[in-house]
Symmetry: C2
Subunit: 349 residues, 2 copies
DNA sequence: AACGTTTCTGGAATGCATTCTTGTTTTTGC
DNA sequence: GCAAAAACAAGAATGCATTCCAGAAACGTT
């Protein structure tokens, strides 16, 4: 009976003008009815709603955006979507934003520093209402320029940018988790501990060595540390592990600063015939399926990444609201989860 | 010198009207200059471009979209972004679309059938130019209704929907890979092989049992198969594996139909103290870091998921072009990669 | 009864860029 | 040197919805 929308003809969407004509009222009255304006008589309301139903009318989002000056969309620039940690952040943010009526537009920087700024500018031209950034680099000048001139609220996720840019931040306390991990290793008897760290241009890559230093300072002078910064890539994980194994005095414990680094590290350890938990102790950052299913299970410095995304989205919504408060910074804890991959070093257990 | 954009005042963007006033020409002339229309004198072109540079003018994307009737954006509805396979598909599609000037808007259905149609309708109201769908269910009536009435080209990824919906499709040949895997297991001597399969409402969940049947038909009557369909979730992987282990006659080989299923399966196998490759042979679908780093490495039915995303995007671009050809279906191969997780069954090797 | 309020509604301006139509100016051809 | 053609530019209509302003009708008050 009221089948209406025949998919064959694919009738052009109705406009407000047509609704007004059918209901025999002015366009402005249609708008008033639909936007819940109080100055509307019951009789007219019925007429308009009838016409709306009859024409299957839906307001044009573009026209509304143009008029209202907002698009109800948020841009998310992220270093690498195939990293499960990033994916979880996206999931957390997407749910919060969707429930608030915003849609999330993603752009992947593929860990390419130049794409960060390109994507920010792209989002600017697309007139997003706000930005969430998980940058490939926090220091690239073009990126900072782009942020400074973007004109909409910005939230950085697990990153830190100069305060004058006025960005909110959702970050993890990587140093605390690292401190606990190193303390654990020291207690097990390790005296030479290596940290394969990621990029110094991203907050986690700077915070984790700090946490390690704190633990070592408390442990006394006889514990040696080796820090190998680089990038958060599988290839750096491999190269750094090779370098560690080539030393005359090998570390007895290795900490991988991310899941890609872990993959590279594990591959090289296996290739060298070393058994995790027996020949070398291992800790990684972030829990992925691999960490618990590996034999032995791999200790990790863990965090709630979905929550991180949620918080980032909430910080953005806070700034998008009526008053739009000042930028804030929220710190989310990390916890160290010891597992069988950590054991006393050979000869001391 | 030409610093211009002071971030303090955050000057409102200039409009075409202001450019026209400054250059002392008509708005239409500005438009002509910027859109490369031929009927433009060199002298005016210079005046306009000067004014554009001076005001740092950029056309308003919303106004352009409204006028032109296209948004240069593509919606992507996907079952679950935290699945690395999906993430790769997104990466592949995003790069292709970005290079063609389109942006990719993501909505995550969290494997929730009801969200599929909600997201499609949302994208419709947002006026995306096309849709890429990796649906949670291919058969849900509301979803099919939404596709039928969406009015823009649709491409499904690794899914199959009724032909009358006119969707293009990028799919993998899951049956072929599965056939090769089962053949391999049979050759090793396995006579009772289990397939923990995913949802029957998604193409891979239906194709893989078919491939298995093909291999079994060729193998003769003495090979038994056990197929346990369900969902592509970790919990189904766990439950199905428990069920298999509880049987009086356990299968000697298990095939997990996806990375989440593998995770659940492995967890239960370990819990039961069974060693992969010794007590039971194991095959999984899709390569993830876990498959090669696990000890022993796990055989997999592998495919190029980034390519799958690329092809999906290209199929969409094809339909978005001038003529907009008919929907097409592209099949991308899968390959079986035997690894140490597959060995002859106990007592026969 | 006359005036002030409400309540409701229509019209027009607005946001911004595109494109068609029309009119002017310049160039070309014979 | 003039008609025809081409080049160029202005103005207005268009896409669609929002919102301010003003006018009309209905109501109440003294």
């Amino acid at each position: 009976m009221s089948e209406g929308r025949s998919s064959e003809t694919r009738r052009r969407r109705a406009s407000m003008r047509e609704v007004a004509d059918l209901a025999d009222v002015a366009i402005s009255s249609v708008s008033r009815v639909l936007s819940g304006h109080p100055d509307v008589s019951a009789e007219m309301k019925v007429r308009v709603l009838d016409a709306v139903a009859q024409l299957d009318y839906e307001p044009d989002f573009l026209a509304q955006s143009l008029r209202r000056g907002q698009t109800l969309s948020v841009g998310f620039v992220l270093a690498d979507i195939s990293n499960p940690v990033m994916a979880d952040i996206v999931v957390g943010a997407e749910v919060v934003l969707r429930n608030a009526g915003y849609s999330l537009v993603l752009m992947n920087s593929e860990n390419n520093v130049a794409l960060d700024s390109a994507h920010i500018r792209f989002f600017q031209s697309r007139r997003v209402d706000g930005l969430i950034l998980s940058l490939s680099s926090e220091t690239h000048a073009e990126t900072l320029d782009a942020i400074a001139s973007v004109g909409v609220p910005v939230v950085v996720v697990d990153r830190e940018v100069e305060a004058h840019l006025g960005a909110s931040a959702a970050v993890n306390d990587h140093a605390a988790g690292m401190e606990a991990a190193v303390r654990h290793l020291v207690e097990l008897g390790h005296r030479r501990i290596a940290l394969i760290s990621g990029s110094l241009e991203q907050l986690p890559g700077r915070e984790r060595p700090l946490g390690m230093q704190r633990a070592l300072a408390a442990a006394g002078p006889d514990v040696e540390s080796i820090v190998l910064p680089g990038s958060f890539s599988r290839s750096h994980g491999e190269a750094a592990t090779r370098q560690l194994l080539a030393r005359s005095e090998r570390p007895t414990a290795i900490i991988a600063g991310g899941n890609q680094l872990l993959i590279g590290c594990l591959a090289v350890l296996q290739e060298a015939g070393l058994v995790v938990g027996r020949d070398v102790s291992l800790v990684t950052c972030d829990d992925v399926p691999l960490t618990v299913l590996y034999q032995p299970p791999i200790a990790s410095i863990s965090r709630d990444t979905v929550e991180l995304g949620r918080v980032a989205a909430e910080l953005l919504l806070e700034r998008l609201g009526e008053d739009g408060g000042p930028p804030r910074r929220v710190v989310i804890p990390t916890v160290f989860r010891p597992r069988a991959s950590c054991a006393p070093p050979n000869g001391s257990g």
